[in-house]
Amino acid sequence: MMQLLAATLSFGAFALLFGVLLAIAGRVFKVEGDPIADNIEAMLPQTQCGQCGFVGCKPYAGAVASGEAEVNQCVPGGERTMLQIADMMGVEPKTVEDEASSPMIAFVREDECIGCTLCIKACPVDAILGAPKQYHTVITDHCTGCTLCVEPCPVDCIDMLIKPELLEHWSWPLPDTERSRLAMERKGQHAPYTA
């Protein structure tokens, strides 16, 4: 009888102790926001392009975390991002339907720009510089290529150009692929110098 009582009491004391500890830990180490959504957002390319059907990367991350959106809706992220998100959510990977185009940047044809500032307002990453009735121009280093500025332009003076590849950013292609063949071809394009 004594033993039974001691066991019950000690277990009860432990239960109380851990209950209190957990309650304190729950308050002290409380995580603000949704950690899963934050982690997913960190995987996204942050183009803010809206191709997923949401206004930006953060809303899409939130929708995926709450199960409202599929894991394969981020087009610029491609298969790599999809696999990462699927891994995080613990769901089966799905194919990304739209093919991501090569990296693009917006370019304002300044001769035709009327300085209406509509594109500046549309840019999700503040990459367009200008003022009312002044030429606008795109900061190419900041442009994510989201195309959101193209549609609002009333005079259609914004082009999407393929982002030029920098020598410093060039990387080796996988052997025996189309890309490696193109690299070899490009090497031959430079004509000899004639004085």
Partner: protein
Amino acid sequence: MSKVTDNSSISTSLLAPVYIVPIKQHIGEVCTPIVSVGEQVFRGQKIAKSQGYVSVPVHAPTSGKVVKIEEHAIPHPSGMGLPSIFIEPDGNDTRDESLKPISDYREKDPAELRERVRICGVAGLGGAVFPTFIKLLKDQRNPIETVILNGIECEPYLTNDHRLMIEKSKQIVTGLDIIMHMVGAKKAIVAIEDNKPDAAEALRKAVESQPEMKHVEVHLLPTRYPQGSEKQLIQVLTGKEIPAGKLPMHIGVLCQNVGTTWAIFDAVVRGNALTERFVTVSGDAVPRPGVMRVRLGTPMRFVYAQHGLDHFENIHLLHGGPMMGERLKGPDVPVVKSTNGLLAMHSDTMMKAHKVEQPCIRCGHCGVACPINLVPNLLADQCRSDLFEKAESYNLFDCIECGACSYVCPSNIPLVHYFRYGKGQLAQISRAKGFADASKERSEARDIRIEREKAERAAKRKQVRAAHKPKPSDEMKTEAIKTDEKAGEEKPTDEKPESKGSES
């Protein structure tokens, strides 16, 4: 024996009809041209100034006129170009006299000599072209005890360092003395492979002829690839392995190539900027192979022509040695600071080394061959299957791309190509990550600004209406509701700024 040019003495290249000088010939930041078209330049005159710390200036290879500055192909695996300064020589080869020779270098402050090495544009001439002055630092925290003079030259075919050691041995030893003075080292080792006994003999004699150099030892090492790689050589000589991510100076060692040491001598004692280098021109398609003293910027076609090679059909050109060198598409690229060898091979010879890739049979030869004890077969598999993070955790970035694994592979797997691909992709991933973080920051800042502006507008409107209506109690309520509705409406219009524009 592939080193066919080890007995022919160094010849000097004629003046080329035009020099094409790319504005970046080292590892690091690009330079900015400081000359304009039509300007007269002299040999050794600075024509492009360095930007940033990891950078050295570029100098005119001869006297003449700048004819144009435009993009031109450089020896680079991408086949892309860099802005290059085109100089047409006037034939006089007049030297720029602004740098005075320093013969009493032992009396000078190391910092002054270091600046001299920098402004003379010296970069590692073994092939990596890392700005040399950065290594020549007398650092209190990492004192240099031993200077290693790297005369290994383990790449097949290349003999430019070999010939240099025989013909300029005294100057190289003086260069070594300058380096030892600059870093405050007491000891030096000259490392040479045993297939160059004549070079070792020449350097030993040069060392013995200078009594103050008695702490210099000449070591003859067995011939083995890739012993000329800095970290491998240090391990062989000192028994100390450089930890991943550390530099030789962290274990008190400084390693300099003999060509670079000669360039340091030339810069300090003669006041010459780096405008020329020694190049091995060899390969079975070159009728008269040899080592040549070539000005930087000389078109390769002109160099090959002086060795009897004019037609390039069915000939493969290599920039560098056969193991680590880079295939060139054509001869119309300039000689740069990294050009240690220019090889030309008949296509048949070259294609003997290029066989169809077969599946890995897990023989493990690559792991045995790897000088840094990586697991090449595993790494290649990870790179091929785009498991880059995993490859990184298996120390992909420690690979020195020596090519020993590809060479021994019985299945002809181009392992190094896979590693290069993996390294490039990892670099791109980290760049994309940095760009995404910056974009996110800007996007969040924009959201906050839009919110704030909206709140300010609402507050202002409230204020104005409150000023116009003396009895606000009921009106205010409806107003507040109205503004709330407006705010609600505005949310989706973020994407359509027309409505937003018309609203304001």
